[in-house]
């Protein structure tokens, strides 16, 4: 589905991605982990075409995506920070995105799911962080694309919404989608992810399942296993 070869990116003198290779063939949930500044967001934004890599190739379903834009029709993205034009109402924003995509959307179903009815005619800059994240999730999930990219999907959500989100991600997985997630909430990752991709210094440092990670590091606990990965590097 997604194939990344020898991806390089630097901002000024700071190297963020340093010859990264990643192959995602399977359906299911792939968690991209790594310490702050390890290149998770840059990797995601390269797939989205928001960041232009210096070198390397990204292919989606066998076609190169660099400098293209049409492929985003088959891709849903949840940005890390829910930034929306402030003077639009929630409903207007939904209509606008639907208009831009020109695709059938299941917005009503998701409005019910996240309980967004009371906020539909509110302006986006008047919403709380959590509600804004729900709108963000709704915009991301409403198009039913085969590839979903979630950058920190849990941020700002209350426990009930978090449960909802897990439920939603699981249903999407069962419907045969590929879901790429970054998160700092380790138990969320442990519970959801089928595959862990651990980035360090712009390269993939570990690639495997949660249990493989535990055995290879000799730790029983997922969080400790991740910590172990990091400490290995520094020793």
């Amino acid at each position: 589905m997604v194939s990344i070869k020898d991806l390089h990116k630097k901002y000024g003198s700071q190297v963020v991605l340093n010859g990264l290779d990643l192959e995602i063939k399977e359906k299911g949930i792939i968690a991209v982990l790594g310490p702050n500044g390890s290149g998770k967001t840059t990797l995601i934004k390269s797939i989205l075409g928001m960041v232009v890599p210096e070198k390397g190739e990204i292919e989606l379903n066998g076609k190169s995506i660099l400098h293209k834009w049409n492929y985003r029709q088959g891709l849903d993205y949840l940005p890390q920070i829910a930034n929306f034009p402030g003077n639009l109402r929630v409903e207007e924003l939904i209509t606008m995105i639907k208009d831009l995509r020109n695709k059938t959307a299941r917005d009503q179903q998701l409005i019910d799911f996240f309980g967004l009815h009371p906020y539909l005619d509110k302006k986006l800059n008047k919403l709380s962080g959590g509600t804004r994240q729900k709108v963000n999730l709704l915009l991301c999930f409403m198009f039913d694309s085969p590839l979903i990219i979630l950058d920190e999907p849990t941020s700002g959500l209350d426990p009930v919404s978090l449960l909802r989100l897990r439920e939603l991600i699981r249903t999407e997985k069962e419907r045969g989608k590929t879901i790429l997630i970054t998160s700092h909430i380790m138990n969320f990752v442990e519970e959801m992810a089928d595959r862990i991709v651990f980035l360090l210094d712009g390269k993939i440092y570990f690639d495997g399942t949660v249990s493989e990670l535990k055995t290879s590091t000799g730790q029983f606990d997922f969080e400790h296993a991740i910590a172990h990965l990091l400490s290995e590097e520094h020793v």
Partner: protein
């Protein structure tokens, strides 16, 4: 692109700034008409104001809109939309809403005063055309500056400097060079130098249309000889078009390589 243009335009039409700009022109037009009591002289006074203010407002508005719509841009970048369409759409949204404020704001008082029965109508139309060009040119330049500067303060600073340079400093340097090189024939030089500044170019176009080029003495004669002919008129209008296209071309080029 037209969808982006539509949303940018609606967004701007709803913002209070467009109305401030519109009422400002309305007030300006009305006051000048009352003070001058004559359409033609009001047009001349208006020219002096427009030549300076339209570029300034276009610049500030362009930079401000670019920085304020970052969130909107980020949202759009993840959608299946071409990059250049996003930015050109936003640019046109700004330029068109500014142009509408200008045309309606100035048009209303002049029409109410009896513009359609007056011989000054073509002078006024010329004034509006150059105003529109200046809006298109300076908001495009402003977008260029904002695109190249992530830092808002820097972006604003450069944009204001650009305006100051083209509106004031350029003329100063131009004059100085005329004085310094006065022993040499300078007709060609001054013609070319005028072409390279959209503000000067607009001023000359309006002055010639108003037929007060006698004020410009010898240079005025040279200018009239050139700009007064069809060739000259086309050349100068063409130059204004180039001034619009070049910044737009750069926008679409910069945007292709930029990271968000």
């Amino acid at each position: 692109m037209f969808k982006i243009l539509k949303y940018s335009f609606f967004d701007l039409v709803r913002s209070s700034w467009s109305y401030v700009y519109f009422f400002f022109y309305l007030l300006l037009g009305t006051t000048l008409l009352f003070l001058n009591n004559n359409l033609s002289t009001a047009v001349i006074t208006l020219m002096n104001v427009i030549i300076m203010l339209v570029p300034l407002i276009g610049t500030i508005f362009g930079v401000m809109y670019y920085y304020n719509s970052r969130e909107f841009t980020e949202l759009l970048l993840a959608q299946p939309v071409k990059r250049s369409s996003i930015f050109l759409g936003q640019y046109l949204g700004v330029a068109i809403s500014l142009s509408l404020s200008l045309v309606i704001g100035l048009g209303l008082p002049f029409v109410a005063y009896g513009l359609f029965k007056s011989p000054a109508i073509w002078d006024f139309v010329m004034l509006l055309i150059t105003g529109l060009f200046l809006t298109l040119i300076f908001s495009a330049l402003a977008f260029n500056i904002a695109l190249s500067n992530e830092n808002k303060i820097k972006g604003f600073g450069f944009a204001i400097l650009m305006w100051l340079f083209l509106a004031v400093i350029y003329d100063g340097l131009f004059l100085l060079s005329l004085v310094y090189f006065q022993e040499y024939p300078l007709d060609k030089f001054s013609l070319v130098a005028t072409m390279f500044n959209p503000i000067d170019l607009s001023r000359i176009l309006i002055l010639l249309k108003l037929d007060i080029s006698a004020l410009l003495s010898y240079t005025g004669a040279v200018f009239k000889e050139f700009f007064g002919t069809p060739v000259g008129a086309f050349a100068s209008l063409g130059m204004l078009v180039v001034w619009v296209i070049l910044p737009l071309f750069r926008i679409s080029r910069v945007v292709r390589r930029k990271d968000f």
